[in-house]
Symmetry: C2
Subunit: 307 residues, 2 copies
């Protein structure tokens, strides 16, 4: 277990594993193959989909799925389509969260948000299309047995929907704006809005790999902690980073009086919380009886991310 005190601090130099670079290239190439070309009509909607999907995202969820699946013995070929589906779901959620009636964001990964670039109606439809296409992609993936596909679709749908997933998290988050929230409520929002899909990514990898129930449970716990880690670092960067580093408007959560860990507890307490969360994710990995360096390095990477 690693805690803040054992680490040289947030500025410590971390080599981005080659795995993540390769995963990103592979996912981008497969997404490009799966998504309708923007030369196919209706071109506007396909251009909007591609604008948001190919905006320089880190492909974190697909990479986590690939890492969990490969760690537990699945082939890359059996993992890639589901990995892309998760990125489509993630991108749809960003497009809809950015809408004027939601978070009203203008900048996403350093570029105008989908609705600013294509108009609100097209942005809503682009999100709807990506959500739909995600399920289509898994349902038609010939590299997976037909019996495994519904299991994966169920995992993803639970993590994306309500009351257990992303839609519920966004609903709580909107409702929590402009009022104080307790820590447990804040963690629930994190868990649903960001955590659920991250957990689904790891679990889908494990399911594709035919993991044992003990392995599935360990990976679920690992990813749960990872999701919390991800959201807290996000909130921390929102306070400490600049728009240039971040590629989006920083400080927005604070301005909207949104519930965030740093807003409630301050930066130092947030960093301690980060370290213990990172430790808990690594503890869970210790229960997997295989080499788990790759998954461990992903936890390290999130802990130390700058954007």
């Amino acid at each position: 277990m690693t805690t803040t005190s054992e680490m040289p601090g947030f500025a410590r130099d971390v080599r981005l594993p080659d795995f993540l670079t390769q995963a990103r290239k592979l996912v981008d190439s497969e997404l490009d193959r799966i998504l309708p070309s923007d030369s196919i009509p209706p071109t506007n909607i396909h251009a909007a989909i591609r604008w948001s999907v190919f905006a320089g995202g880190k492909r974190f969820r697909p990479a986590l799925l690939l890492a969990a699946g490969e760690t537990l013995g699945a082939s890359l070929q059996s993992l890639i389509a589901t990995a892309c589906a998760l990125e489509m779901i993630h991108t749809y959620s960003l497009i809809h969260d950015d809408l004027p009636s939601m978070d009203n964001d203008e900048l996403r990964r350093g570029r105008p948000t989908c609705h600013l670039q294509f108009g609100e109606a097209t942005a809503i439809l682009a999100g709807d299309a990506l959500l739909t296409l995600a399920f289509k992609t898994v349902s038609e993936d010939g590299k997976l047995s037909a019996t495994k596909r519904p299991l994966l679709i169920s995992e993803i749908a639970r993590a994306a929907g309500t009351p257990e997933g992303m839609v519920a998290g966004q609903a709580y988050d909107l409702e929590a704006e402009s009022r104080n929230v307790a820590v447990d409520e804040l963690e629930k929002i994190h868990r649903l809005k960001t955590g659920a899909l991250i957990v689904a990514a790891a679990r889908c990898g494990a399911i594709i790999a035919d993991a044992s129930s003990a392995e599935l449970e360990a990976v679920t716990e690992y990813a749960g902690q990872l999701g919390l880690l991800f959201q807290i670092t996000d909130d921390l960067l929102d306070v400490t980073a600049t728009a240039e580093t971040l590629g989006k408007t920083p400080g927005k959560d604070v301005r909207a009086r949104k519930a965030t860990y740093p807003a409630l507890h301050g930066i130092e307490a947030t960093r301690k919380h980060l370290a213990s969360t990172h430790g808990a994710s690594c503890d869970a990995l210790a229960r997997v009886n295989r080499p788990t360096e790759l998954l461990r390095s992903i936890a390290d990477l999130i802990l130390e991310r700058k954007a």
Copy 2:
């Protein structure tokens, strides 16, 4: 084949088949069981989902699925969950289509639209949740073999998405506002926006029933004509009906200069087009070597609907 000249006209008295009443009750009861209770948090989103799902919809797509499935030999138990999934997809599309940036509708089935009642953000999320829950429902339906579920999810996703489905149709429709469109473009919009999901309903019923490829093809053709019939009657009612009968603001398509058959060709030509479309749907049924009265009566019902 029935044409306008053979029928006593639109005012002819039609007995609503008991089947449709029973199907509606069954679907409503099953939807009530599947959808999260509005006492489960986040309550706002679940209340919004239920507001739109239980607004007195005719459950036409589920009824068509049940009718096609039963005609071809499937059990009701094996059909009902997928039927509900289609109604969820249909309702999601209505919620999103009604949004201010889309059709900006204020009245739906005689009540305020979801975004007027619950706010725009909650309406967007309610639609997202219904779309997600539809796929979850099919993926987890224990009455269907695991191998059949991905086939159905693929059918539904293609019909709901882009470039072959509802999202594409809505994109074309928005783009077609405020300009003249040719007849073939208009029919394409109808086919994608309304027809694709209607065809999917019939095809899903046939797939669950293990229909032969000839039967599947016949049912596909029948439902394609049915979808066209449905949209044209919808456009006609938009011109001829009152808000009271219709339960929504009439004349809206015309005011928005939207492409509709009556706007392009007038009411009389539209009625002739309706009759020939109805005839084509019945011709397709003649190729199914089973009793098809139920499916035929659905085509009759649409032809003669008043709301």
